[in-house]
Subunit: 110 residues, 2 copies
DNA sequence: CAATTTCATCGTAATATTGCAATAATAAGA
DNA sequence: TCTTATTATTGCAATATTACGATGAAATTG
């Protein structure tokens, strides 16, 4: 097959999985970290930061954008990218919640 | 191609990407949430919780285990699974850090 | 021991992802 | 306008993922 059976899961589960999937590639993690490292949104300059060809980077950026993890706005000849804080906030609270719940039932694990 | 160029990225980037990738499927998110919902580790019973065939679930469990997100210990005829708190802690702090850094440079985004 | 239960593995088909060369599209500058 | 710079899109080859039936392995039960 190769096609994920999204129908059988909740919206929320699919949403989190989609965001996690978008981050499930080192190049996309590297893009996120670069966007974070620089002190503002970045216009151009992303391709040179990565050890991948331009079409490949463009594709990764597209996936991050589709997953809602980054925003991009056209700035003349270039495109300004930056991280979407909301998406990160969602992921952060998701994992924070898991941590809290795990904390509560310590020692009950294997 | 289809093969990720992990060589060109840092260990940390690859590690985070690997964990995110493991969570990048709704079935695996569902498994994590089920493990969290029940008040202890689970022996057996996971297959019946998911709308997928047993070999498929087994495969998903294997991937979560390989990524270090869950632990499994054989308990006679069944296997007890539970979430690995350390892995969740790593992810949580990763996203928390991003949030903090984004907070610091508010308004500088697109 | 035979039957059953539980989980893993193998094999395979369908589909998705990754990566890049070639090419297009768009805007800025000469 | 012609050229250059920047990003997107297309098309393709290599590989990975997803899903499941069939089968296997190991412990439990009757």
């Amino acid at each position: 097959m190769g096609a994920t059976k999204t129908d059988h899961f909740t919206e929320k589960q699919n949403a989190i999985a989609a965001q996690a999937k978008a981050l499930g590639h080192p190049a996309r993690i590297a893009i996120m970290e670069y966007l974070m490292k620089v002190d503002s949104c970045i216009c151009g300059d992303i391709v040179n930061e990565l050890p991948l060809a331009q079409p490949t980077v463009s594709q990764h950026l597209k996936e991050l954008k589709n997953a809602g993890l980054i925003k991009g706005s056209i700035e003349g000849n270039t495109i300004c990218y930056c991280i979407d804080e909301k998406a990160i906030a969602i992921l952060q609270s998701y994992f924070a919640n898991i941590s809290i719940r795990l904390e509560k039932k310590k020692n009950k694990t294997c």
